[in-house]
Symmetry: C2
Subunit: 339 residues, 2 copies
Amino acid sequence: MATMTDVARRAGVSVSTVSYVLTGTRPISEATRDRVLAAMAELDYQPNAMARGLASRRSNIVGLLLPLTGRALGATETAFVTGATEAAREAGYHLMLCPVGTDDSEELQTLATQRLLDGFLVMEVQLTDRRVDLLRKLASPFVLIGRTDDPSGLACVDIDFEQTVGDAVAHLVELGHQTIAYINHSDASLASGYGPAKRTAAAFEAALERHGVTGVMVPTEDTSTGGRVAIREARERCPQLTGVLVMNENAALGILAELREAGLDVPWDVSVVSMVTSEVVADLASPALTAMTSPGAALGAAATRVLLERLADGDTSTYQELLPCVLEIRGTSAKARKK
Amino acid sequence: MATMTDVARRAGVSVSTVSYVLTGTRPISEATRDRVLAAMAELDYQPNAMARGLASRRSNIVGLLLPLTGRALGATETAFVTGATEAAREAGYHLMLCPVGTDDSEELQTLATQRLLDGFLVMEVQLTDRRVDLLRKLASPFVLIGRTDDPSGLACVDIDFEQTVGDAVAHLVELGHQTIAYINHSDASLASGYGPAKRTAAAFEAALERHGVTGVMVPTEDTSTGGRVAIREARERCPQLTGVLVMNENAALGILAELREAGLDVPWDVSVVSMVTSEVVADLASPALTAMTSPGAALGAAATRVLLERLADGDTSTYQELLPCVLEIRGTSAKARKK
DNA sequence: AACTTTTGTCGAAACGCTTCGACGAAGCGT
DNA sequence: ACGCTTCGTCGAAGCGTTTCGACAAAAGTT
């Protein structure tokens, strides 16, 4: 394995010159640069990442804090991860997956003080999140995917839930639906202060009011069965319901099945709009789900860009970027039947 | 940030002694060890990962080579990634996601010669895979998830497709199904030599013969629509067909929808068994899919363990470990109707 | 009792890079 | 032609560890 010293010797220059060619920190004459570059090529030289990291105090690696709950990642999260990874690579950075529980401060502290990572992307942010306090204390640069209840002083990239719910409800109302159910995440998420659950709940209320239509919110488990149970409950509480908004991809499929078995036709009897849904899952359903497609990859890429920017210029001010899910009309929404 | 020198000074020993306490490379007296440990605790000392990596030539990071095709990862792949990550962490290692195309040798070479990673986990292995040759040439330790056509001299961990297909067909035959369709991956995958596609095709033939039943194989796209098209074709070619084996989760849902719309009842008219399927997706379907559940997380963990073992003892001999998918009977398979 | 080993510790030399200060050679305004 | 800045390069001092050789003291071997 060739080292910088080898390159320097071969090019007839000093080690520091080689380093300057590599990093561009100081001007180098064209002639010298060419000689150095040639030497590198001939020797198949690759800078040693560890040595470089030690000397420069930057690893060019960012960590992705991802609480692995044991259950699989949804398509949205996956897209996020891949988006972030790609964006990092394009900027010459690497992405390290860090399966650290939301309140495993021990582990996170170790990770952050090891100097292995230049900064962090924080996923699955809670409304009050201990990781945020810790990272702040340790002065590690980080960007949240999501928001705490008070995002001042933080850098966040998140889905614009208010807008998304608003657009979804608007879509249903435009189609003539006057009674709309919102199948949210579970009671437990709501209680634990999970941001998306709380924000969408509020946004749903607001949207109903704005359009002067009525509706119910039913929290439920993020599973197919959860969807079945929820739609049953919703129809009991609101028999005249013709529009359904559902937070969870998995629940959406359950809802479709349950409605079909109840002898109701989707979209003609009931329209269903699924939120924060990936294309893959939307297409799995029959008919394919009309959905608010989550900008998973875009979110990941945006978050990464923001983090890298901040690493470069040391900026630490408040920053917020909200990306809406975009309405993708497929087969589960249609004009409401005349009463 | 405290360094080892600080700890040494505080404990009244030399730096090397502190290092020995940390790494256990040489015997240290109980008394000294305690003093050092105490000093570390008082100073909140954390070894610097870069310095350690430079000096020891090991980063304690393994790379996961994952061709990101742009489309999202399936549940199986996701489980694999999380399984690997967890296993690595338990052994004091980190996992880095490396989105490197199957034939982006350039990128891989850079990655491997950078000395950032101690070894590689290789996903999405092709029957003839250039990455394998490259890693071998560079003498980078690696473990394949999957197999090349000639796995001699390699370390592989893979799904036992032969066994899995065998079990699935056996299940259908036991239920009395005499004509079985196998909906495989696409023609393109087959042509490009994608291992799972080819291996299952062969295993399917063998299983049919073994049980003396008839069947067809239909390759198709890994989408819901793909499943619809394929089942239509299968029924045309084999009208008496009552059992379906399907490789792809997404296609499985399409098949269910198509059969339903054709007025056929699953499982009573046709039984469907989905292969290499995750629980989440299986439960999404109505009825829930009878499936060969893929051991995603277990595979990831196994691969990681093998890799770390090899890193530790420098072993480089052939190794192969095959994990079967296990049959999970849910709602889409039942006794064949008497003719 | 005279040896060899093992144990516990130290000092110093790497590991392969970045970065700082220095310094001659140009380039420039006057 | 005189200082002044800018350019291009070098040497050397880190960065924070691990690891090697050395060595005294303790423990085993005959």
